[in-house]
């Protein structure tokens, strides 16, 4: 069963209410053949880590437009590590200043997708880099 779909959690941590991007991506990845778990707005890092664990996803995609990424993203990656999910690929999308990239990567983020990224780019990246579990 090597050709099974990759399972991706799309989550929106923090308090901003802008989920259009996350929904467009969730739907786009569905059309690219991914199984996408969408959990909606205003997720705490705790909720995201629990969902990632229970769903046993291959990828966690975080969409943030509030500017709180430097607080929220490391909290998520830390919780994932604590729960033994350090093999999950974490990607961030949204408005992320270039200067914050290195710190986020150091915290365990594999890739950052800014404005203008296409669905196909994200899909290609995930297919190449996510490690499907069996």
């Amino acid at each position: 069963m090597t050709d099974r779909p990759l399972k991706v959690l799309i989550a929106k941590p923090g308090l901003d209410g802008h989920d259009r991007g996350a929904k467009v991506l969730a739907r786009g990845l569905r059309d690219e053949g991914f199984e996408v778990v969408y959990t909606g707005l205003r997720q705490t890092p705790e909720m995201i880590a629990t969902a990632a664990l229970q769903e046993d996803v291959d990828v966690v995609g975080l969409s943030i437009l509030s500017g709180a990424h430097m607080t929220l993203v490391p909290r998520v990656t830390k919780l994932l590590r604590e729960r033994g999910m350090d093999d999950v690929l974490v990607a961030v999308g949204g408005i992320i200043p270039d200067d914050d990239g290195p710190a986020l990567r150091a915290a365990g983020v594999a890739e950052i997708f800014g404005p203008g990224t296409t669905i196909a780019q994200v899909a290609t990246y995930l297919r190449a880099n996510a490690r499907p579990r069996d």
């Binding site: 069963m1 569905r30 053949g33 199984e35 705490t44 705790e46 629990t50 229970q54 046993d56």
Partner: protein, 329 residues
């Protein structure tokens, strides 16, 4: 294979001991129908059968996820543990899926007594994934008191969940149809409980009254007991978004379970066993027809059907005949 068996035992023991990560990984193995899943099932199946399996089904948008969330809250108040298997459809075109049932079930991130797992139907018709019953058995063996199987949004005839569950709840929204809809064969016939959700909307009382009149009052009482009969469901009204009517629903579920345990359910358990084994048989047949040794012949036969050179029945017989002459794998 020895590796798979060892890994399966390790995961199964950990899952039973309460390791949620191991449980989640085991469910992935079940979904992907790996050798690990089979070995784990050999270990876990004998200890499953303790949980109350409740199917929740109904049309898209009738409030299944919201009702499941409200039930989780009620079950936790009663001090019991609960697991959810929530199925959403897979795209017939790309194989992808959008699993959105967790959106309404967020509040339990820190609660170890709640476990929620989304599943894509992966091409299986009937309202569940082909592996949903096996997933429920793993959760059962892992010690959850109540397991809620939420189907994809269903129409009139996706009755599979009734074979998978001890108790089947069919949701209706107010004003969804007239009395004739209520006496059509199919989904409503397999309901143990019919829940008119969105009870705060106009028409809920009338819809419940119509269902009661058609499903309960008109059911014949003096039919030959040896003949299979449609159920006489209990009709309830809930407003899942506020929790109104949900304590009554949990009480009704408990009542139904108590009755089921005393008798009748032997037939139901046999039906569940058949559904479960049958799903595996069809999966395995399909897998073998597409494996290395058979792919070419299968594609050729299907091609003949597509071109109308062979009829579908003859094609099925031919494909089955291949296996009759071969030894088991």
């Amino acid at each position: 294979m020895a590796d798979a068996a060892a890994q399966a035992v390790e995961l199964a023991e950990a899952a039973v001991a309460g390791d949620r990560r191991a449980l989640a990984r085991l469910l992935t193995a079940v979904e992907n129908r790996t050798p690990v899943a089979e070995a784990a099932m050999r270990r876990l199946y004998p200890t499953a059968g303790q949980a109350h399996l409740v199917g929740v089904t109904g049309p898209p948008g009738s409030g299944k996820s919201t009702l499941v969330a409200a039930l989780i809250a009620e079950v936790r108040r009663a001090g019991r543990t609960v697991a959810v298997v929530a199925v959403d459809p897979s795209s017939p075109i790309t194989g992808g899926a959008l699993l959105g049932d967790r959106v309404r079930m967020q509040a339990y991130a820190a609660d170890d007594g709640v476990f929620i797992r989304s599943m894509a139907a992966r091409g299986h018709a009937g309202g569940l994934a082909s592996t949903s019953t096996a997933a429920a058995a793993v959760l059962d063996a892992s010690g959850f008191d109540l397991i809620l199987l939420e189907t994809v949004g269903t129409g009139q005839s996706e009755v599979e969940v009734a074979a998978a569950a001890d108790t089947t709840v069919v949701l209706e929204a107010p004003e969804m149809g007239d009395e004739v809809q209520a006496i059509k064969a199919g989904l409503l016939e397999v309901a143990d409980l019919v829940v008119v959700n969105k009870g705060d909307k106009p028409g809920a009382q009338r819809t419940a009254a119509q269902l009661r009149a058609m499903l309960v009052a008109t059911a014949s009482r003096d039919a030959d007991p040896a003949r299979p009969r449609p159920k006489r469901p209990e009709i309830l009204i809930t407003t899942a978004s506020t929790g109104e009517g949900v304590p009554e629903l949990l009480a009704a579920l408990d009542r139904h379970r108590a009755v089921g345990r005393e008798g009748v359910s032997a037939a139901a358990r046999l039906a569940r066993a058949e559904a479960q084994v049958w799903a595996i048989v069809t999966d395995r047949l399909r897998d073998r027809l597409h494996d290395e040794a058979h792919r070419e012949a299968t594609t050729a036969t299907l091609g003949e059907v597509a071109d109308h050179r062979l009829d579908p029945y003859a094609a099925a017989d031919r494909l089955l005949a291949t296996f009759a002459t071969e030894a088991a794998p």
